[in-house]
């Protein structure tokens, strides 16, 4: 079905290196927030997001845990992969966990776009849509919240370099606070 087609398109490209620009809009289409930086994916479960604006922060999923470093706070927060997913729908696109994907219904829109809806109605995110470019790379991800606010990620390819798990090792900087949320 549509989900299998989406899976194939997502997992066809084993790794992805892109610049991202995220814009958050209010329900009445005003720009609320903007973020930009770089995003690296190595499927399944490896992910790195280096945000530059409005402030420096880094999120790294090393295959089992997720490290979220915030320069402003001088703090690294460690989450389990699952916890991070609840915080960021973006993580879904790197996961091949069937039980996870079973919580979503997938409908194909046009040739290169899909709508992903959580089956759990109380989820904060009402729906997500993914669009792919000619090279089948992820071009845009959009998610809409229950209150009508929506976020658009635009991706532009950096270079088609082969990434490896060692690119996703994360060393906690000296002298920062470490907040381990995994057991909570």
């Amino acid at each position: 079905g549509d989900r299998e087609v989406l899976h194939k398109m997502i997992f066809e490209k084993k790794s992805l290196s892109v610049n991202f620009a995220q814009t958050v809009f209010s329900a009445d289409n005003r720009v609320l927030q903007e973020q930009s930086g770089q995003l690296f994916l190595l499927r399944p479960n490896y992910f790195r997001m280096d945000t530059v604006e409005p402030d420096a922060s880094t999120i790294v999923a090393d295959g089992s845990d997720v490290y979220s470093y915030d320069e402003m706070l001088e703090q690294v927060t460690i989450y389990s992969f699952r916890q991070q997913l609840d915080r960021s729908p973006l993580m879904l696109v790197i996961s091949d966990d069937e039980s996870l994907w079973n919580e979503y219904s997938v409908t194909r829109g046009s040739m290169d776009s899909f709508t992903v809806m959580p089956k759990n109605q109380n989820a904060n995110v009402k729906s997500m849509s993914l669009s792919f470019g000619q090279d089948n790379g992820l071009k845009e991800l959009r998610f809409v919240e229950n209150d009508g606010k929506y976020s658009i990620y635009n991706f532009t390819p950096i270079k088609d370099s082969e990434l490896t798990p060692s690119d996703f090792k994360y060393a906690i900087p000296e002298g920062v606070t470490v907040d381990d949320q995994r057991s909570k």
């Binding site: 958050v24 609320l32 409005p54 402030d55 922060s57 706070l73 915080r87 904060n124 995110v125 606010k149």
Partner: protein, 171 residues
């Protein structure tokens, strides 16, 4: 951003900003209190005397929406529940445990002393303003349409610190 303001320019800047009815600022908000440090995305949209403050998670999902008009103070939480009251700061504290001086934020982010004591740097920019329950430090500025506006702001209370990093002004 280095610039020098003469006393006349200081006065002009403050009067110009105080007279501004509609503006918006967005960026990042770091919240430091005794127990926790957390960072969020922030947007303050002002249409004096009303304002709306959006506090979002790092990926953009809503954590708090604080809307204040002359007749209404309303807070929407991350589950979409709506809470009303008369004092926005109190409502936010009861919901989150965080001190956010909502009613003062529109003046804090633009750097308008009002009747509060202000300290100026040699270059004429405001270094700090002492409000009744906290002190605001303006660490650096950015120029927007010829007007110097705060870029990095610390709001220091007895038991909390808020750190704002602005990345966009609409004024």
């Amino acid at each position: 951003c280095t610039a020098t303001l003469t006393p006349e320019q200081q006065t002009f800047r403050e009067e110009y900003l105080a007279a501004k009815k509609d503006y918006a600022v967005s960026g990042k908000l770091g919240i430091f209190d005794e127990k926790v440090k957390t960072s969020t995305l922030l947007n303050i949209s002002v249409s004096r005397p009303d304002y709306t403050i959006y506090v979002s998670g790092i990926t953009g999902t809503t954590l708090l929406k604080i809307r204040k008009t002359t007749s209404l103070t309303e807070i929407t939480d991350d589950k979409g529940n709506i809470h009303t009251g008369s004092n926005a700061e109190e409502l936010v504290y009861n919901l989150t445990g965080f001190h956010i001086p909502c009613d003062s934020l529109p003046d804090i982010v633009t750097g308008i002393p009002g009747n509060n004591p202000a300290h100026y740097r040699d270059d004429g920019t405001i270094e700090s303003i002492e409000f009744s329950e906290f002190t605001v430090n303006y660490k650096n500025y950015m120029e927007v349409n010829g007007i110097l506006l705060p870029k990095k702001i610390d709001i220091k209370g007895n038991n909390f610190l808020l750190r704002i990093a602005v990345n966009k002004w609409e004024i």
